[in-house]
């Protein structure tokens, strides 16, 4: 068995290549939505936050977890909505 962290490193290296490949095709016109859209994706830590807030534990754990959920959720919801708001405005002649 390959250790879990090595699998993670494989996934990481390959995703970086995919990321560059995909993103280098985005035209400068859409760089702001690209940034805010990927920014929303970086709110994926919400997945970890949900686990941290929900496994129980003492007050400090719950407080940290809940704070993480709030931060992640603002990032995700706000990020996607603001990106959509911008993209809605781009119209052809």
């Amino acid at each position: 068995m390959v250790p879990v962290f090595l699998v993670g490193i494989y996934v990481f290296v390959l995703s970086v290549f995919v990321g560059f490949e995909v993103i280098s095709k985005v035209p400068p016109m859409l760089h702001t939505p690209l940034m805010s859209g990927t920014n929303a994706i970086s709110g994926i830590s919400l997945v970890g936050a949900v686990v941290a807030a929900g496994f129980g534990g003492d007050t400090l754990h719950i407080a940290l977890g809940t704070a993480a959920v709030i931060c992640g959720m603002v990032n995700v919801v706000g990020g996607y909505m603001v990106t959509d708001r911008m993209l809605r405005m781009f119209k052809r002649k």
């Binding site: 929303a40 997945v47 936050a49 405005m89």
Partner: protein, 468 residues
């Protein structure tokens, strides 16, 4: 404990689907036709990933999650609806910071839960998550404060700044190594967190307003890296994939912005650009042909020139955003088009305060995106153009970048507006741009300076055209 609705295989499968949706969604951002659907797909991916985690069995108490999600969603919805398009750079900076904070908090929580049975690798990535996450948070808050003008946009430099940053970095490295060797040292973890928060502030304060596009792009990549590290902490591939996608995007944009300014990332990060120029050269004297007086023109003069043009190119800069003049630009563009004049918009890659800032503002004002031209596309066209209208742009149209090897911006790719028959510059006053460099464009024979607030000048021009 087992509240799981499905097996861990299903969980992993859904994470894989979410990862594919993130990549596909980002890929679809390559065209304005598909971009909106792409963003939607990416949001579906996020919903799946979070949803499957909620019901995946690890969670025993939903109360705080529901509370946190409700509060976060409410803030996100309100903020994204209320924010003005001109304030988008600070909004994105703030979201970046919160993403970093979420990752850092996840890191701390995992440390507290697992500090007794972690491998060296896990402890290392946990500490790095905490470190990068907090740097992202305070760095973004400073970027936000500068862009919102809560604090001065000028670079803040002091003696020994680099030395202090170096010492703080070494302290963090030392603490991280110590915690990896012996994980049960919460005090050292606290020190790592505090030092990271301080470093975030210190790395962004020396960077000036005009360099903000680079900083925002870089913080974007940090937030991705923090998410990616959190993925290693939790051994969760969807975090690793999504985080590295964002990290790659941020690094790509950082590089694009640096190319647009002909500066290295180190030159931007070590900061003080503009400040040092101004104090050294006292505003860098320009070799001015013909005595050095600029020629101010009235609105009427400008309107007459515009009436007789057959092609006009608008060149917007940060000044357009500051004056909220994008709608006035569009109105004038419409008035010109009604007279049969060919109208286009030239966008420099670093115009504004974030990558693509000008495009978003003009799109908001309903300018069709096929009229928005990139620098490489539009530069050959200036020499066949009758009038170029520069609205609140300065350094990105400075011919010194091509002609004057002693200029601090020499070598920076610029819009060659002075190739046009007439260049009209709408400007509030003769203050130099953010880089603190005088602009010889203003002294050229074919340049007309029209002073005043850009928005009111533009609407007066529109009225003058309508009256004739």
């Amino acid at each position: 404990m087992s509240t799981a609705l499905f097996s861990s295989n299903v969980l992993e499968a859904v994470y894989l689907i979410a990862s594919v949706l993130f990549i596909l969604g980002t890929k679809m951002l390559s065209s304005p036709e598909t971009a909106r659907r792409g963003n939607y797909l990416s949001a579906v991916g996020m919903t799946l990933a979070v949803g499957v985690t909620l019901f995946g069995g690890e969670i025993t108490d939903f109360r705080w999650i529901i509370l946190g999600m409700a509060v976060g969603a409410l803030i996100g919805i309100v903020a994204s609806r209320m924010v003005q398009m001109t304030a988008m750079p600070q909004m994105v900076a703030l979201y970046n910071g919160l993403g970093g904070a979420a990752s850092a908090l996840v890191g701390i929580s995992e440390y507290m839960r697992e500090m007794h049975n972690q491998t060296h690798f896990l402890t290392t990535v946990t500490m790095l998550t905490i470190f990068v996450g907090w740097v992202t948070l305070t760095g973004s808050l400073i970027a936000f404060a500068k862009l919102q003008e809560v604090i001065s946009g000028q670079p803040t430099v002091f003696k020994g700044q680099h030395m202090l940053n170096l010492v703080l970095t070494l302290i963090s490295v030392g603490c991280i190594v110590a915690v990896v060797l012996n994980p049960i040292q919460p005090m050292l973890v606290t020190i790592i967190a505090v030092v990271a928060l301080v470093l975030g502030v210190l790395v962004v304060i020396p960077i000036g307003g005009a360099d903000m596009p680079v900083v925002i792009a870089l913080l974007n990549s940090y937030s991705g890296i923090a998410g990616c590290l959190a993925g290693f902490v939790l051994s969760n591939n969807v975090l690793i994939i999504a985080g590295s996608l964002v990290g790659a995007s941020g690094i790509f944009l950082t590089n694009e912005m640096c190319k647009g300014m002909n500066r290295s990332i180190w030159n931007v990060l070590f900061g003080g650009f503009g400040l040092t120029e101004a104090s050294a050269g006292g505003g860098a004297a320009v070799d001015v042909p013909g005595g050095g007086a600029v020629k101010p023109y009235t609105i009427e003069d400008a309107a007459t020139v515009l009436e007789n043009a057959s092609s006009v190119i608008f060149v917007p800069g940060y000044g357009m955003a500051a004056a909220q003049a994008q709608h006035a630009v569009r109105d004038l563009g419409d008035a010109l088009e009604q007279r049969g004049i060919d109208v286009k918009y030239a966008i420099h890659p670093v115009a504004g305060r974030m990558p693509g800032h000008m495009n978003v503002l003009l799109a908001e004002a309903n300018v069709p995106y096929d009229l928005l031209k990139d620098m490489d596309e539009i530069n050959p066209e200036f020499r066949h153009t009758d009038v170029v209208l520069v609205i609140g742009a300065n350094d990105v149209v400075n011919p010194a970048a091509n002609e004057d090897p002693s200029s601090p911006i020499y070598g920076m790719p610029v819009l060659k507006v002075d190739d046009a028959r007439t260049v009209m510059v709408l400007k509030r006053s003769m203050n130099p741009g953010f880089a603190g460099i005088d602009n010889m464009l203003f002294y050229r024979d074919n340049t007309m300076m029209v002073f005043g607030d850009a928005r009111s000048t533009l609407s007066k021009l529109t009225d003058a055209l309508a009256a004739t």
